[in-house]
Amino acid sequence: MSREPSQQNRDSSSNSDRTNRRTVLKTVGAGAAVTSIAGCLGGSGGTGGTIKIGHIMPVETDNGLGSERSAQLAVDQLNENGGILDNDVELVTADSAAQPSEAHSAVTEMINRENIQMLVGTVVSEVALSLADLVAENDLPFLITGAASPRIFAENHAQNYDQFKSIFRPGPVNSIKQAEYLAQYGQFLSEEHGWDTMAVVSEDAAWTQDITDMTASLLEESGIDVAVNERVALDTNDWTPILDQVESSGAQTMIGALSHIPITGMTSSWSRNEYPFSLDGVMIAAQSPQFWSDTQGTAEYLSTATSAADGFADITPKTSEVMDAYQSEYDSRPTTPTFVGFITHDAINLYAEAVERAGTANHREDIDSIVEELQATDFEGSYGQIQFQGPDDEYPNDVYPGEGPGDEFAPFTITQWQAAEDGNGIGDTDGTKRCVWPETYQNGDHQTPSWM
């Protein structure tokens, strides 16, 4: 009998998740006044004003909280360096609870009560989709960090660019690209370990459709036998039948795309029962730095796709800067910025640079100049080099994905949970993450489970 799909959220590079947490609009930073100061309406040019940046995330999740803290870091760093256009920067945060309705209310109030100049956030695609009309109507720059649905751009910008021009996605690459990269990763595993049979298991949600449709057929094309290509119900909590099915199919790895379904139980069951295959894919919960302790160490050998290698590899010189700054500020869960944190940090900084170039942050009067400068972005971020696709490209304003997962543009990385050398584990554990793919950023070999 089903509970409505839900739970666990750790949201995703890819998308989505929901829970029933709801929103709280709160002002972080100086002076929590909920009034609109006349001078700040413009926020443009003049000194002494305040530029407010809105941040919307499901902050009950590690990815959401990591992002919120990273946004605060970015804002503090900007203020130390004189703010934006000589204005102080203030972060206004809200909890979307991964629910479109909550996010819609929160952002409406951020716009009308707080007069935010820019909005960053959301790892949840349905939230991003539902905010598109609202922010477009207000000509509000909206930088999406985390949500990976291509629909955001295909349904909006590609139809009417002028209306939706203020919405950008600095990262990660969209889920179609991710599906393609996952297949390339499968080929890498095949070459590395000689595996010829694989299983693709996706949760039955819209964000995984590309993985079911594309990843499997691309693997087949490269000569790998996809013995299982299943979609599992969102309220699955007994994994035994699925793991058994993968085992009996003879697959050497199960490539999963799992966000809503809690996978802690599956992971421990896989490890403790020594199912003879590797676990790879997009496993949102496993992106959290605390996944090792959540699963009591049974996460060892599990790999997941992520951006910035979750900070465990030096993608750009800025990666470790953000990682170190975060860790010197915060030592509670999540103990690293999470991949979303890196992208959010980048988003705020590239926005700051763009409005400096435009000479205005007044989105109500001069959105065209701001959009023009955002379009012209060529920014070295902590997760990679960021450029946006042009108005005439297939996904206008979406991040430029580069030629492949391993080049400098919007890199796509796979990390594996591995045993750490003595005392180097995350927190007090003896587990750590290493980047195992693509080769450009690799700092560890992909290990097969010891029992295989």
């Binding site: 009998m1 089903s2 509970r3 839900s6 739970q7 666990q8 959220n9 750790r10 829970t19 029933n20 947490r21 009950e60 999740t61 039955d204 599992v232 119900a233 969102l234 309220d235 699955t236 909590n237 007994d238 035994t240 039948p241 058994d244 809690p262 802690t264 139980g265 992971t267 421990s268 069951s269 403790r272 029962n273 919960a285 959540d294 699963t295 009591q296 049974t298």
Partner: protein
């Protein structure tokens, strides 16, 4: 083919045993007081979290005992602290208990986050039975289920207190005539129901998931099983638990997991249309 059938038989039996554990407490409370206790699912959650928190310190057996005791105490607490004052109004009780369950869900979220937790196996390891991999904990749940049913049967047929419970669930008026101390019967019933929920909760939490939202699905199940089995009938609930368990297993095998709740709804509608009193029920509330 044959092996598929055997798999379904075994998997179905294991899950049904847990469903029986969940439903028995719910039906007992319904039987003796006419109360639908919608905090029942939350009691399962309390037991699972109790095991999760205490097991690292006092071991697996200790964790199980604490989980069961805490669920029983919580059940008793719900009765003494809330339901006792409003039980004369069935509708208010009905809504108050679901609000209490929602409050417990939020409290658990605040304490343990939304994240689903993994429980340490009670008996680590697994064994293949006729080609089907079974964790020892699944077998343990099956054994626990039947041992507890046996103990309950002994209690209600061979002890004075137990017979009072049975009598009350058959006819409250009759029980009062024969001098049964009704408040005492209710208190005992809530304690026993809580203990059953505790066992069910630990196994559900261990074999499926332990999260603040784990209460709704078992509650829905218990509700369905009680309607199908017949209100207040323990025998009916056990049979209905196996019926639902096997139908679910079959549905998942033949149609896919998303259709479980659809099939369940159809069955419930069929039962309500053609046999509203359920398999072994008296007419609802006399």
């Amino acid at each position: 083919m044959i092996s598929d059938i055997i798999t379904i038989l075994i998997v179905g039996a294991m899950i049904s045993a847990i469903y029986a554990l969940i439903a028995i407490g719910f039906t007992m409370i319904f039987g003796v007081g006419g109360i639908l206790n919608l905090t029942h699912g939350a009691l399962l959650m309390i037991a699972a979290y109790a095991y999760f928190v205490t097991q690292p310190y006092i071991g697996r057996a200790g964790g199980v005992i604490v989980g069961i005791v805490l669920a029983a105490v919580a059940s008793y607490g719900v009765y003494m602290g809330l339901v006792r004052y409003i039980e004369e109004n069935v509708v208010i009780t009905f809504m108050a208990t679901i609000m209490a369950a929602l409050a417990l869900q939020e409290a658990m979220t605040m304490a343990f986050s939304q994240q689903a937790q993994v429980l340490t196996p009670i008996m680590p390891g697994s064994v293949a039975i006729a080609g089907t991999r079974m964790q020892y904990d699944q077998l343990l749940a099956f054994v626990f289920s039947w041992v507890m049913i046996g103990m309950l049967w002994y209690y209600v047929t061979n002890t004075k207190d137990g017979r009072a419970i049975l009598a009350t669930s058959m006819s409250e008026r009759g029980a009062i005539f024969t001098g049964v101390d009704l408040p005492r019967v209710r208190r005992q019933t809530w304690l026993i129901a809580g203990a059953f929920a505790g066992v069910g909760g630990i196994f559900i939490g261990r074999l499926q998931q332990t999260s603040p939202e784990m209460w709704l699905e078992p509650l829905t199940l218990a509700f369905m099983i009680v309607i199908i089995g017949g209100v207040g009938s323990i025998k009916g609930s056990i049979i209905a638990a196996y019926l639902i368990g096997y139908i679910e297993t079959l549905t998942v095998a033949l149609l896919g997991a998303p259709y479980r709740v659809v099939v369940a709804l159809l069955i419930i509608i069929a039962v309500i249309m053609y046999r509203p009193e359920g398999l072994y029920g008296r007419e609802y509330l006399e």
